[in-house]
Subunit: 570 residues, 2 copies
């Protein structure tokens, strides 16, 4: 495999051999390694010294189920620290099948022009794209596919990223007709925008699955992995993950009292049943939307529901839990149609629906719009599209919106908005929000899944639980595997070891696997430390320590000293 | 003396004895001590745990020349660190003469109401002030003096502080008719606003000079101090400081190539002569404005020029160098009348003219207004007054304005805008901006005064020079002395020792004095460290390291490692 290095200053795309020290890494792990090696931790995130990194996971390009996620990375303009965000779709697989271990985009064009990077079996080239400027992600994809064929994978930013808004993510097409999946978090869309890169168009035709060091070992493990996913009561055909996708958990989080409602004022939303997974499926089926589709070619779970409007027109490829929470209950909105409309707008603008939902909730708290007023929220998103002053504020995300509007109830950690679990009623997530090098993130170590084992309302035991979760997801994020595909490899780490060894022949043991996770987390923490992070950054907002959250009326009370000690055993 | 503790939650003002550990401190030093003792370094600056501190200097209330400055402090909402800003006027003297060592305002009203704190010989009381809301500082002062007499000192915030804008300062009346002097920096006006405190009205009638431990020693030293100021070629009657005030240095800084012009694009301004000290004096005299007035009752320098409009109406009490730089050249504005109009607007809104000038420069760079378009800048300040979205952005200062407008050329350090010396052509100031616990600050260690001794364009020798300057000013800021009054005490530290010993009888040596400065600086650094500051915060913006500044075409090139070592000898 090779490194594709794209210099936006010289406007050159060059192929390089993979440096030996990068070889063991993929996806999130490789992003951490490259950031620590090549990017000055104190650089301006939107300046010439930051880099935009696109990395398939270690297992990307194989036919392993659910392994095609693309990791996008760089120094985050939102948190100021290390950032990896990943998304489903076929980009991870496509890059790997073209032999691309990683795309490193560096420098900035001096001329202010826009470019498009085309990658195919013929090579990589930068094309002028000034006339693509201002296109939403849907129009960008349509135009790219018109020009280069429907089989192309398109990684792009919308107007939000072009305007360097720090709530901007990177959009990526999914399998089939799916247009806009998002590597949403941390403002990486703004980093892409700062490089003058509107889109990457990937044509994986003619690409091949990467070689297997021990083909039999790999194939056996991959078959077992697929079979266990298919047989698992949650990921199998009768499982809630297949039937409802991430929306499966709406009612459970609400029942826990952790469902952010009206800017994290309450933990239960009175209209929750209209936002639930079953309701989502019922509406989708009744209107002729497709359920149980895949975001990538190889996935036995197939969790996506194509949300359609009452006339049966597609609205969003899949309506996710975090979006339902942050653009739904958090805004006091109680119908999926309305949430989907806002989601579509975010996707098209290239905005993180979590960060944007938090910013809109703050706008409502400030009185700019009423909670529940969907038309009002749509109008605010149109301000973002127009690049008005209000739109530019909202587009910077929750923290800046709060500061400008004079609102101190800002649900964020390390500058990044919290996803849809209030840390006062799911304290393990609070620990992850506070301490993860990624900032407040639901994929960095989500304690919802262990709510039966660790009392989500207790102050004790959360740090140990969060640390284990934080370590475990690193392996998913570094192999290109979906979080939904975790049951087989979490149940038996040897399965992950077999997959790695089968692919690379590294002869890993389970102990090596555990050590690898720690190595990655330590690299991320080191980058952040050099960027200026301290324990003072590992905190939950002050108001959540004194304002009780109904219905349990709990505050976030994991002691600071415990947060400070969470990584001491690494 | 006593501590006046004002609890805005319980709405109580209570008198407390001075804790023994606070006794050695005054002004800036006392603020550092109280912050470190009473305020959690990681608290939200605009939340209930921060405190607003008003402290006369150690020598406040005596009849020592130029010793009545008031230090205002708290955790800065702009930098997130320790903050002391001080201003001229009679507040420092007035408080000290009423026996008030410090006013500590803590908590927040729950009801969102506004209050006014009245302090007189009869005591202290909180009065309702909801109907004062929205008043500019000029109207606030007029109303307070109408109600309580022209002799009252009024410390107040304008609409900017009420709106919790982090470019908001605290305004204070000066001697005679001077209305609006500003403890401008660091967003302390927002802290005052967050406490629901619109104004402090101080009636020092009946107050007495504080007791002198060694009256003869003190009086002799004070007489010598006054005589040396009067005889000094710069502070005496023929001196530039008396004749022109701070505006004396306009042409010299321009000549050095360090005069920020059009958002720090250039270091010389083609219209500088129209902004110079001599021009200021000439206009003032020609129009019948008063020159050589004092901001406080006891001052032998008397540096203030009352700038008047062509009809002879007062515009601002004194037009200062930093304002001329930041609202003049930095905005491409080349007449003092226009600068004074913008200055008046800032004063009335209660905005720091430095932070605001930097924010407006960024707005011009973003194309919201043309450089030189004074009416355009006035319109932007009116947006601040109106609390429009654009106004709220500008009111947050340079960093937020840059982020929202997508401009990366933001002249700031630790979140605070640079004053009117470009660090690429006065590198000692760059070191101070980067390393001072106060953020970019011209009073924290200004190397302009040593430009003959240390080459301002050289990368070497700046850290040693800055450290010495940073230490030396601490003693001024902690005694209530004006920076202008430094020559006698900088020339002979024994004079400062005699003043301290004369007042308090502490039996200090010069070595004790030097140790005291270090103690204070170390307290400030400790607060910041606990608040989460690291060497990564001790930096000049990236663009100043690569963008050469005309006319010398130098960049800021003091190595990071030197910056990191500056305090190692403390």
């Amino acid at each position: 495999m090779k490194v594709l290095r794209v210099n936006m200053h010289r406007l050159e795309a060059t192929w390089e051999p993979v440096p030996v020290e990068y070889e063991p890494f993929g996806g999130r792990a490789l992003i951490a390694k490259i950031l620590l090696t090549e990017v000055p931790p104190q650089c301006e995130p939107l300046g010439p010294h930051n880099k935009l990194i696109l990395a398939p996971g270690l297992l990307g390009g194989t036919n392993l189920s659910s392994s095609s996620r693309l990791s996008v990375g760089g120094k985050s303009p939102l948190t100021g620290g290390v950032k990896e965000a990943n998304c489903g779709g076929d980009a991870g697989s496509g890059l790997a099948r073209l032999g691309v271990k990683v795309v490193v985009v560096e420098g900035q064009p001096e001329d202010g022009h826009w470019y498009l990077l085309r990658i195919s079996q013929q090579g990589a080239e930068l094309l002028p794209a000034d006339d693509w400027r201002g296109l939403g992600t849907y129009a960008t994809v349509a135009r790219a596919r018109e020009q280069w064929g429907d089989h192309c994978t398109v990684i792009s930013i919308g107007p939000a990223g072009e305007m360097r808004m720090t709530a901007a993510g990177v959009a990526c097409t999914g399998y089939g007709e799916q247009v806009s999946r998002m590597a949403a978090r941390g403002g990486l869309g703004a980093v892409m925008g700062s490089k003058g890169l509107k889109a990457v168009v990937l044509d994986a035709s003619g690409g091949e699955a990467p070689p297997l060091a021990e083909p039999e070992l790999f194939r056996t493990a991959a078959r077992r992995f697929a079979r266990e996913l298919a047989e698992n009561p949650r990921t199998g055909r009768q499982g809630s993950m297949h039937l409802y996708g991430t929306s499966a958990i709406v009612e459970a989080v609400n029942e826990m009292g952790a469902f952010p409602t009206r800017n994290f004022r309450e933990g239960r939303f009175e209209e929750v049943e209209n936002l639930s997974g079953p309701r989502l499926r019922e509406i989708t089926l009744a209107r002729g939307g497709r359920v149980g589709t895949r975001c990538m070619a190889h996935c036995v779970i197939a969790c996506c529901n194509q949300f359609v409007d009452p006339e049966g027109n597609p609205v969003v490829a899949t309506l996710q839990y975090e979006t339902i929470g942050m653009l739904g209950a958090n805004l006091g909105i109680g119908t999926l149609d309305e949430v989907a409309r806002l989601n579509r707008l975010c996707n098209d603008l290239g905005l993180d629906s979590i960060e944007t939902g938090a910013a809109l909730g703050i706008a409502a708290e400030a009185g700019l719009v009423r909670f529940g007023d969907t038309a009002g929220f749509e109008a605010l998103l149109n301000e973002v599209a127009a690049g008005s002053m209000l739109g530019r504020v909202l587009g910077q995300g929750a923290v800046i919106t709060g500061r400008v509007l004079g609102i101190s109830r800002v649900p964020a950690a390390k500058g990044q908005a919290m996803p849809a679990y209030d840390p006062r009623a799911l304290k393990g997530n609070g620990v992850t929000y506070a301490t993860s090098p990624m900032g407040a993130d639901h994929t960095a170590g989500n304690a919802f899944g262990i709510r039966e084992k660790v009392n989500p309302l207790a102050a004790t035991g959360q740090c140990e639980a969060s640390l284990q979760l934080q370590l475990d997801v690193i392996m998913l994020d570094s192999t290109g595997l979906c979080l939904f595909a975790r049951p087989p490899v979490f149940a038996d780490p040897q399965l992950m070891v077999d997959l790695i060894n089968g692919r690379f022949g590294w002869g890993w043991s389970v102990a090596d696997l555990q050590e690898y996770k720690k190595t990655v987390l330590k690299m991320e923490l080191a980058f952040n430390r050099q960027a200026g992070f301290t324990p003072a950054d590992d905190r939950i907002p002050e108001y959540m320590k004194r304002e009780p959250l109904p219905p349990h009326n709990t505050v976030f009370d994991v002691p600071d000293a415990e947060l400070d000690g969470i990584f001491s055993a690494l």
